[in-house]
Symmetry: C2
């Protein structure tokens, strides 16, 4: 039976290495060194780098995030923005996600895994958030959850993970107002 503590050490080492050097430069030997573990322990669990990373990443990605339900659309939206922006401020998210996204552009298997995780979350959030708002009459019938989610997550991701500019105090507030207005306008 494989030892659980060793597996945990390896998983942590993989996440750290991913954040530090990225998928492309991640080597099994470095993971073993960092985990304080023999290479054999790794090859006993996974047969190569891709399989290892995919299994570990899928696992993390599938952790469900709690969906907001504060009673009003603007409340839900503000909470969602807070959750996402907090998550994107952490190194694990802001380094690993763009790295894997770039990697996904040339590795179909990574792409598939990430897209599945992303789309699942995105749809869940979109449908719940928009569905609730439409049901409450806060947004017009026929609001497209797909476009709505792009409109909400896009700018946040852009600013935090791409442009890497800080979010000032009033940014989220302005942003909430703007997005609410955008969604009321026929999207």
């Amino acid at each position: 039976m494989l030892r659980g503590d060793i597996t945990v050490a390896i998983r942590n080492a993989v996440m750290s290495e991913l954040a530090e050097v990225g998928y492309g430069r991640l080597s099994i030997e470095a993971v073993a060194r960092r985990a304080g573990v023999g290479k054999t322990a790794i090859y006993r669990r996974w047969s190569n780098k891709l399989e290892m990373v995919m299994e570990i990443i899928s696992d993390v990605a599938e952790r469900k995030v709690p969906l907001p339900d504060t009673g009003s659309f603007s409340g839900d939206l503000a909470l969602l923005l807070l959750i996402v922006s907090t998550a994107l401020k952490h190194r694990m998210a802001s380094q690993i996600i763009p790295d894997l996204m770039a990697e996904a552009a040339r590795n179909p298997q990574i792409a598939e895994t990430l897209q599945r995780a992303l789309r699942t979350h995105q749809q869940a959030v979109g449908e719940k958030l928009i569905g609730q708002a439409v049901a409450r009459g806060e947004l017009p019938e026929g609001t497209d959850p797909d476009v709505a989610v792009d409109l909400i997550l896009g700018p946040l991701y852009w600013r935090l993970a791409v442009a890497r500019q800080p979010i000032e105090d009033d940014y989220l507030e302005k942003f909430t107002t703007a997005v609410t207005a955008a969604l009321r306008a026929t999207v």
Copy 2:
């Protein structure tokens, strides 16, 4: 005197390799092979991989894009969205940019170069687009160009370069409406 045609062949090879394998896995030897050139020709021009890539990328990034001026804000916006979305559909942009962005998260020199290019373009676009609209009275005084640009580019980048979902015919139209509404609302 270094031969210009050789330099061009190398530059093209670098861009192609960047798109195909990314910065992390780009090797001088592969570039030389692809360009049909000796390694010596490369080392005669740049002293290492980072310097080579940075010089070539800066060069490309500094090409000015024409700024839209159609006479109306919605026209400008639609044109801008069209330009950006077309650019992001090309492999060079949709592969290389996310890749370098991810790389920038761990290489300060790359980060600095990209941020400079990005911020310059972003500010130019924002100030011109929003400035014109405010001057025409189409947007309220005090509209924040910074937030506006996030709101415009974010969703597009998210959808095309991150989520990698196609843009349907009516998407840009809906999106234009939404963004216009968003910006009119006090941003």
